[in-house]
Structure formats: C-alpha cells, structure tokens
C-alpha cells in the first residue's frame, strides 16, 4: 500500500498532523491556552489562525511540488520516463 509514494508526502503530512494535534491536546490540558499572550496577541491567532491555517500548509504544498519537480529533473537527466 502506498508503494512509490514520495517520502516528502509522509514528512509534510506528518508535520501538519503533528502541529494540529499537538496544539489541540495542549488546548485541552492547559486552561486558557488560546488566550495566553504571545508576542502581545492571544496565542491562538499565531498557532491556529496564522500557522495552522495558512503558513504551514503553504510550506507543505510548496515542498510537495518543488521536490517532485526536482525528482523529474533528475529523471530527465537520466533519460527516463516521468
């Protein structure tokens, strides 16, 4: 199952789930975590709104297409089929 799936897929997907479930668990164990101030604003705006919702996913989707294009470049250099 999932034979041939690029390693970057597992790394990217793992990063996304790690981030989400780490902060979900922390929120359900540390009272008031979403409202604790980090850099002067409630923490949830950073780990959920900014990073969880947007930045991490942009990074992951960039890595996914970038690493695949690198793999295809190598294949082309070797004269193989993509």
């Amino acid at each position: 199952m999932f034979k041939g799936m690029p390693k970057i897929f597992w790394a990217g997907t793992g990063l996304m789930y790690f981030w989400v479930f780490l902060f979900m668990i922390l929120e359900m164990t540390i009272p008031g975590l979403p409202l604790k101030k980090v850099f002067g604003i409630p923490a949830c705006y950073l780990y959920n709104w900014l990073f969880g919702l947007w930045i991490i996913n942009i990074i992951i989707s960039f890595l996914f297409f970038w690493s695949e294009e690198k793999r295809e470049e190598k294949l082309e250099q070797e004269g193989g089929e993509i």
């Binding site: 041939g4 990217g12 359900m28 992951i60 793999r71």
Partner: protein, 538 residues
C-alpha cells in the same frame, strides 16, 4: 432597509466581468474535450484559483462564519482541517489522476475495477452529494441577492436559479474555468477586505478578542479545561476532532475538485495548482475566521436593526430577517455572516462581500453541475446504458442535463433542508466514505478489488445517510452519535467516523475477494506511480 446603489453597482460590476469572460471564451467550448475538460490547457495559477473557488462554496463563505458564531473558537479547527487537507491531494490524487488523463470522475472506477457498472455505483453518492451542493449554492446565491436587492427569499431563489442556469448553460468547462479563476480572486478579496474592516474597527486583534469575550465569555472555551463549553457539541474532544475531519479529505476525493486536476496542462501544473489553491483559499479562510469570530458582537453592537422592532440579540435579528424576507428553513442563520458585514455600515464593504459571495456560490454551482452533467449524460446514459446521444451531441446532452439539474435543485431550494454547512457536511461524508476509499486506495494499493469497491460504495452510502438522518430525527441534530442515549449524547459531527470505517471496510473486503487482472493493476496502479531516478532506487 432599502437597496443601496453602491452595493447594487458592485454586484453589476461583478456580473459584467463574468459575462465578459464568458463572451470572450464562448468559441472555446465547441467540442467535447473543451466542454468537459477545457481542452487540458489550463495553467497552474488559473487552475489553482479555479480550484479554490470551486472547492469553497457558500458553505465556506456563509456557513463557516455562521458555525463559528454558533459553536465558538473550537470550530476554528474545522477550518484548519479543510485547508490542511488540501496539500495532501497534491501527491495522493492530483498527480496520479492527471497522469491517467480521464475525462470524467467515474472513468477511473470503470477502468481500474474493469466494469462499466462501477460508473453507476460511483454515480449514486456523487449524484446525492452533487444535488445537495447545487441546492446549497442556489441558497447561497439567493441570500446574497436578498442582501443586494432586499427582495423576498422566494424571488431571490428564482433569480439565483436563472442566473446560475444561464452561467452554466452558455459556459462549459473553458468558460467556467476562466470565470471561476476570477471568482477565486473576488471571494478572497471580499473576505480580506471584511477582515481589515473588522480588525480595524476594534483596533487590532486584542481589541476584537476583548470585545468578543465581553459579549460571549465562553467563546474561547475548550473542552475539559473550562467550566462551561463554548457549545454542547464542543464539550468533548470528539466534537473538536470530528469537525476537523468532516471536510478534511474532501480536496483529495470530492468529484468537483478532482475533475479540476484533469483540466491542467500537465502533471506539473496539477501539482502547482494545489499550491495556488492553498495560498488563495487559505487567505480567504483567514478572513472567514475573523468575520465568524466577530459576527455576534458586531451584530449586537452595530447592526442598524438592533434595538428596533424589539430586536435585542443577534439571534433575534436573524429571526426578524426570517419573517421580513421569508427566508425558509434553517438557512436564516447563514445570513449571520452578511448581517455582520451590514453591521459595519459600509456600502463599499457590502458590495465587495456580495460580489465575493456571488462568485463563490456561482463557481461551486457551476463546478458541481458540470460533474453531474458528465455523470448523468456521458457516463450513465452513454457509457452504462449505451446511448450514442452524449457522444454525438455532447453540448446538447450536457445542456439538457443542466436544465434538469437546476430545475430540480431550484424546487428544493425554496425550503432548504438544513444550514448550508450542514448540507455540505452531509454531502462530504456520504461521498468520502463511499467513493473515497476505492479512489485513493485504488490508486495506491494493488490488492483493492472490484467487489470491495462496489460493496464499499453501497454499504457506506446507506450507513452514512441512514445514521445521519436517524441522528437528526432521533436526537435532534446530525452531529450527535446516532446510537447515543438521548440523556447522554456524544458529539460526532456528521457521523464523520464513517470515512475511517470506509477505508477499513474496503481493505477488509479486498483481502478476501479476487484481485483484479494484472493488466488493470499495471495500467491503473503501477504505471501511475511516480518513477524514481536510478540514483535514488534501492
């Protein structure tokens, strides 16, 4: 409240752009390949923007802020789940499906599982989900038309149906891809402009948070660490995690997004288009989080109708809209997002939001109607039942299907069965648990079998729809576990667990049933995998 000329002008400007795009691209939809898959010549940015606009529907634009308004901060995680599921599609389905180059969503099922009847099985949940989505798109368009024109909801639904019908009837995939790409930008701009208004009104994120807490002290409460949950559905981890997963895998397996991978120039564009969709869609979702968070406090502090006609709460205002404009069913709560923007008392903002809302609703209606057109016409009438009509006259056949779909959905939109986000959630779970495993595991697992695929679609469609309706009528909400004791209910949003059960069911049945032919496995599994450079092979 009367019609504001600036809001009306904003909507007219939006329609002018859409009709301009439709007019200039009309000659591009003359043959079947162009009509169905845009001639496979769409670049990554245009396709990414179109992907975002198609995938995100009024369920996002109206429904997500409404659910944040109802359920509080824990629902933010549902939005993280939706965007977080998008990058996964890049390598899981977008790349292999683009490599395979199908025309329709059901092509893969018929080819991989070696029977044309798989088209019929795959069509069942797709048609259920598709009709649900066209209905919610008509309702969404109608709510925005109500906001612009201040006319009765029934008239808004008729107008919305006519507009959507004309848009798709004369479009096809080329026109809808180009105009949908524009709509992706329009909806994101609308959401971001509203966000700037909300944040600046309260003087920053701290000011907004303080205002929300003063208005709803339990808004940011998470389960187990607060005396009172933000909402009963969010009082256990199953509620928070459940909402995270309801829409999470949709980008990888929902037919209306999967078909957009078929329209790209090449496999490279298919992967890059996901990046653009995440960038554009993520920005819009960031805006929706802020709008949803501020909805209640904005309406109660600033809406022009507050304190008039005995209205003294946000829910009271929505009830007033229901009676004043005849908004039917539960969908009046969906108006909360528009009401929050009305509260900011800026015609410019409302014009941008209305244009963005119309954009997202029309784009989704077009995307789903195109999927249903192809499934009902080309796939079922043509490939399954052997008629040559869809092959000989594809445009005529597709247009007849469009008339049928929009007519049926318009009739069902006059009294929507649920909130738009609830209609969306139900459609997602039915499709993801039934056709999701045979698609994803069919691509990545040689052992997946025809019997497992067919049984999975039939059993999971029945289980998910049955448990969803049972929960609604037995426990009062689709979000409680359908076998719960009414005195001690467990939150399992939209019976989301069926998605995971579907994967295990498919694997289990595959292991005890005969494999597909070596030829099919080679062509539709092994050949679709990415090739590794010799230097990296073990």
């Amino acid at each position: 409240m009367s019609v504001n000329p600036i809001v009306l002008l904003g909507a007219l400007a939006y329609f002018l752009v859409i009709f301009y795009i439709g007019w200039t691209s009309r000659k591009a939809s003359l043959d079947a390949a162009d009509f169905y898959v845009a001639g496979r010549k769409v670049g990554p940015f245009v396709n990414g923007s179109a992907l975002a606009a198609t995938y995100f529907s009024p369920a996002s634009f109206l429904g997500l802020p409404a659910f944040i308004f109802l359920l509080g901060y824990p629902f933010w995680w549902a939005l993280v789940g939706i965007i977080g599921g998008m990058p996964i599609a890049t390598l899981l389905t977008a790349a292999p499906l683009r490599k395979y180059e199908p025309t329709s969503f059901t092509d893969y099922y018929a080819d991989r599982y070696e029977t044309r009847w798989m088209r019929l099985w795959a069509a069942i949940p797709t048609v259920i989900g598709g009709f649900a989505y066209v209905i919610l798109s008509i309702v969404g368009t109608a709510l925005f038309l109500l906001c612009i024109l201040k006319v009765n909801f029934t008239i808004s639904v008729i107008l919305a149906s006519v507009i959507i019908f004309a848009y798709i009837y004369y479009g096809g995939m080329v026109a809808t891809t180009l105009s949908t790409a524009f709509q992706g930008i329009a909806m994101t701009v609308g959401s971001l402009v509203a966000t700037v208004y909300v944040i600046s009104h309260y003087g920053g994120l701290n000011g907004l948070t303080d205002a929300v807490l003063a208005n709803s002290p339990t808004f940011f409460n998470m389960p187990y660490v607060s005396e009172k949950a933000s909402h009963p559905l969010m009082s256990t981890w199953t509620g928070v995690v459940g909402f995270f997963f309801v829409w999470h895998f949709g980008f990888s397996a929902m037919p209306y997004t999967v078909v957009r991978f078929f329209t790209t120039q090449d496999i490279k564009s298919a992967r890059r288009s996901v990046f653009w969709a995440v960038l554009i869609g993520g920005a819009m979702y960031g805006g929706l989080v802020i709008i949803g968070t501020g909805t209640k406090v904005l309406i109660e502090q600033l809406h022009p109708l507050m304190q008039t006609e005995g209205i003294n709460s946000a829910m009271g205002l929505l009830k007033h809209m229901k009676t004043a404009y005849g908004v039917a069913g539960a969908s009046v709560t969906d108006y909360s997002m528009i009401a929050a923007n009305e509260a900011l008392n800026s015609p410019f903002l409302l014009a941008v939001i209305a244009a963005g809302g119309l954009a997202i609703a029309m784009a989704t209606a077009a995307g789903w109607t195109m999927v249903l057109n192809v499934v009902l016409g080309r796939d079922l009438i043509g490939k399954v039942f052997g008629s040559t009509w869809p092959e000989k006259k594809p445009v005529q056949c597709t247009r007849c299907m469009t008339i049928f779909i929009i007519f049926v959905c318009a009739l069902l939109s006059f009294k929507p069965p649920a909130l738009v986000l609830d209609i969306s959630g139900a459609a997602f779970i039915v499709i993801l648990c039934s056709v999701g495993p045979p698609l994803i595991l069919g691509l990545w697992w040689e052992r997946g079998t025809t019997i497992a695929a067919a049984l999975n679609i039939i059993v999971m469609t029945a289980c998910s729809t049955g448990s969803w309706m049972y929960a609604k009528y037995h426990l009062g909400s689709y979000h409680w576990f359908f076998l719960s004791d009414p005195a001690n209910k467990l939150s399992t949003p939209h019976q989301f667990y069926w998605v995971f059960i579907g994967f295990f069911f498919y694997i289990g049945v595959s292991l005890i049933t005969p494999r597909n032919s070596e030829e099919a496995i080679q062509k539709y599994v092994r050949d679709l995998r990415p090739r590794q450079p010799k230097s990296e092979q073990i």
